[in-house]
Amino acid sequence: MPPPGICYHPLSSLLEFQGASFLRLCSLFLAPSILRDTLNMSPTQWDFPVELCCRPMAFVTLTGLDVVYNAVHRAVWDAFCANRRADRVPISFKVLPGDHEYPKCRSKRTSYEWYIPKGILKTGWMNKHLNLVPALVVVFYELDWDEPQWKEKQSECATRVEIVRQSLLGRNTKVAVVLIQKKTPLPPGEDVIASERAAALCDACELSGKSLFVLPHTDHLVGYIIRLENAFYEHAQTYYYTEIRRVKSHKEFLNKTTHQLLFVRHQFKIAFFSELKQDTQNALKNYRTAYNLVHELRAHETNILEIKTMAGFINYKICRLCFQHNTPLDAIAQFRKHIDLCKKKIGSAELSFEHAAWMSKQFQAFGDLFDEAIKLGLTAIQTQNPGFYYQQAAYYAQERKQHAKALCNHDASVMYPSPDPLETQTGALDFYGQRSWRQGTLSFDPSDPEKEKVGILAIQLKERSVVHSEIIITLLSNAVAQFKKYKCPRMKSHLMVQMGEEYYYAKDYTKALKLLDYVMCDYRSEGWWTLLTSILTTALKCSYLMAQLKDYITYSLELLGRASTLKDDQKSRIEKNLINVLMNESPDPEPDCDVLAVKTAQKLWADRVSLAGSNVFTVGVQDFVPFVQCKAKFHTPSFHVDVPVQFDIYLKADCPHPIRFSKLCVSFNNQEYNQFCTLEEASKASEVLENLTQGKMCLVPGKTRKLLFKFVAKTEDVGKKIEITSVDLVLGSETGRCVVLSWQGGGGDAASSQEALQAARSFKRRPKLPDNEVHWDSIIIQSSTMIISRVPNISVHLRHEPPALTNEMYCLVVTVQSHEKTQIRDVKLTAGLKPGQDANLTQKTHVTLCGTELCDESYPALLTDIPVGDLRPGEQLEKKIYVRCGTIGSRMFLVYVSYLINTTVEEKEIICRCHKDETVTIETVFPFDVAVKFVSMKFEHLERVYADIPFLLMADLLSASPWALTLVSSELRLAPSVMAVDQLESHVDQVVLQTGESASECFCLQCPSAGNLEGGVATGHYIISWKRTSAMENIPVISTVITLPHVIVENIPLHVNADLPSFGRVRESLPVKYHLQNKTNLVQDVEISVEPSDAFMFSGLKQIRLRILPGTEQEMLYNFYPLMAGYQPLPSLSISLLRFPNFTNQLLRRFIPTSIFVKPQGRLADDASIAAA
């Protein structure tokens, strides 16, 4: 708890501001004048006395200790007063000499019958029981049990006790004796002398045994001291208990008519003694009773102050104890009740400021208590925190100020009365809350009206010297600190506004301005224009009174703007002042300003006028709402480089009278354009008011002014964005004073984004305006534009024969024709795969200009900037580009032609680069489908081939191309595991295939040995060389390599082949020889039989069993004799191998013919023709 006399200072609470705001405010509060005054503020009449606000503790005096010269005594005293933490008993100790005179006890009243109290509570009473009248007096005396001169010492000690007793005559104060001994005492009972002498000493001093203590001066001093003080504490408690009983005992003598004051007094005393006894529950109970009693007192104008003072004291005690008992709601309820009861008890109307001061103090003290409780762990909430109480305290302080202003406006000639009616003989009042000139008077009518008048006059004159603003600001800043803590930013802002206004009243305009300026943006950003206007009006007054040019101009600008809710006459006045200021003259004073301050200000303004120097003020408008609005709009989002860039600046003034500006400049991200976009009129300052409605430089209120600017973009800026970075509007002349309103980007201020949003939402139809005018809301800011290249005037054609065939050199013919009026130069062609497609396409696409040789991997996918030369008007050129596509699929190809041309824009010659691009999607397909299959010599499909046995490879080429293809040649490149049986020569050389046609060829092959590989053996490659039939001679031939499929090669145990003629003739012998080869390393047992056939007779072995040695061959010879003509089945040969049951006749049928064509028997004459057939 801080001493109540010293209020929290703004510095301490506002130091918590963070960041930039802290820096700003810090400088604000470090201004020395008020700081010093506040810290040194002495307790005023309204502050609670220290003894009320402290925590009452039992008062114990220690005598007989020489703490200055005696080291032992010093150590004892230190042990008592050092380290008094919460775990030590609550005692306040004081060292006094043994012969100290305690306050005299007045003789006890035996009857209250004729006693009439003069007031409720004496001003000295609390202090008396806290600091003057002890509960216990302890007499320290150095005496050991084995003291040789015991008798003498004993009587000296008794004398000392007696002196103390004399001084305390009539009081219940306890006395105790502590013997300081050098020796450690023996355990009780063992030291016979000790107990004897102790008893003797007690007798001599008339002490009970409980009040005699021994303090051995040994190592464990602190331990002994703690035991001692616990014993003291018990004595003290007994003392306060008896005091409570004593006060209570008075009650029965009291009557309600004359002793009403005593009821309160006694109840208060009981409660206070209970507090001293540390019985806070009973203290609280008794204070509550006392509080109710105080309100039962008959109140009148003469004693209302005393009642309120006492009610305030008791209320303070109750709230304090409630917080201490952790029942904050009780405290709040009590406080509310207190305020409700006392709010209307104003008392004398002539001193109504006193009531306000008292109310303010009540709230402040409660706020302090609340805050203290929070520091000790209580949690407060947003809607119930100390801030509200400080705020209310500030409110009453303001009320006090107003009352004081109204009541204490005495003429300067009125002298302070003499003798001072506020002086008392003692320098202080006898009773709390009484008037000094009629202390102890109980009559409700002032006995001496003259005295009363003088007294009131004295109080009023004293009130005049109170610096109210200081009190108000201190309270407000306390409240600000609290609301900041409890998430009330708006409340905080509001209080800061009040602080600012209070500083304004206190004539501290610098601080006022800083505070107001700090919170302005909060109100602006939330769009509370009424509040903003009110703050701005005060701020404008401050800046006027300090002759702060820039602030004055800024606030004027905003007060004239659309966010201001001022009436037009006010706005006119401000505008007139603003124009005056810009013309280097002094403005008229703001209304309602202090006359003296205005005088000072006028002098300051006059000095400003004569002072030369920098008088250009740049104001960034994005943070406020000035009276000129600005919007910039490029005509289109992009401009071709060969046309001038055009944009409009729209300006609108919201002030009541037309205003003239002297300069408008637009800045761009490329500063080279700035010079083209400046509007300036050489006008003298004196002309500002003349010629108002004419000319571009004059803004008529409510009318939108459109200013057109154009410039030629630089060719380097093609493809870049041109952005307006700021628009600067100069008001006033640069030679005198001027203010530069600077809009960032394309205009707009603190309020315009919200307005634009509302305008966009609105579907109100706007009234029709004349052609050259526009609605402000309908203008949409367009602060940047793109510069794009000039429109090309050439044609680009592509000629080609799609689709492209895989791997061919696909020809793309590009024709460029110029339609320009002048020669075009530096024509460049970029052609190839359009970037940004699948990366694999880039790998598999190659572009070249040379079609005579095949391009490989090293060629790029895109040829860039191929110089083509110049083109005269109408001329055309052709360029062939060859593309090789390695994979099928569709590709996008880009052909991009760029050129230079000279042209003029706005009489300015520029060289433009124009470009035109064409894209084409080309599909790539396979030129032909190749099907490869393996067949037996009988052209039967083979799943697998047998080692050493010939088979056929068939290749079918089916043309898939829509264009005719010429197969130049084909080639079979065999793998080592396969051998050709005869010459491998191509059968398809120079064959032309139309769409859908196919070509086939076959090769006879054989595999020497069976492969062991799982997947079969590789057979090799088939290479086809081809080109488009339409392609020219020099176009290279394309070789398409086809990898032949793998084939599974198996061993066969027995190979049978038959030697027979190609046909037979009826009734002519047909010799057939079967060769049986053993392909194994084993001797084979073979059973052979031949089934008869209807079409043949035959000779030869019909059924035989034989052996064939490994690697050898057995021949079987038969003579068939055909009987019927036609395609006849041969007598079927069946072979079974005993070792290989898998070798079936079915397998056999693959190798040997099963039928033969038999010709009919011809005539001999036809032999020649038969031979030909």
Binding site: C488, R490, W528, L531, Q754
Partner: protein, 139 residues
């Protein structure tokens, strides 16, 4: 009987604010503005509650010595703030609630007007009359 009635937009700027002409208008403006601190806090506290279970009436925002400030928030976060004289003990919670409901209905009517652009200041005679009735009527 209310001494001040205000309608505050979602963005916390005033759409409508009317106070008894006898007293300092600015004082009520500040009072309504500062009460938004509590409204904001209450709204953020109930942010988690389901939309249909949400109570629109916010109750007493904060008491001052002389006035009581009540709040109400619509589902579109438009706030109604009403300032009532502290001495007027006849006004119970229920009466305040019904006054807010009336205000809400009237506000809905304003919104239904196709010529009213949401977010503009309310300049409706019907709404004005309703507020007037609220400010003089003694419940």
């Amino acid at each position: 009987m209310a001494v001040c009635v205000a309608v505050i937009a979602k963005e916390n700027y005033p759409l409508y604010i009317r106070s008894t002409p006898m007293e300092n208008e600015l004082k009520f403006h500040y009072m309504v503005h500062t009460s938004l601190d509590v409204v904001d806090e209450k709204i953020s506290a109930m942010g988690k509650a389901l939309v249909d279970q949400r109570e629109l009436y916010l109750g007493l925002l904060y008491p001052t010595e002389d006035y009581k400030v009540y709040g109400y928030v619509t589902n579109s976060k438009v706030k109604f703030v009403m300032v009532v004289d502290s001495s007027n003990t006849a006004l119970r919670d229920n009466e305040i609630r019904s006054m807010f409901r009336k205000l809400h209905n009237s506000y809905t009517d304003v919104m239904c007007n196709p010529f009213y652009n949401p977010g503009d200041r309310i300049q409706s005679r019907a709404f004005d009359n309703m507020v007037t009735s609220m400010m003089i009527q003694v419940c």
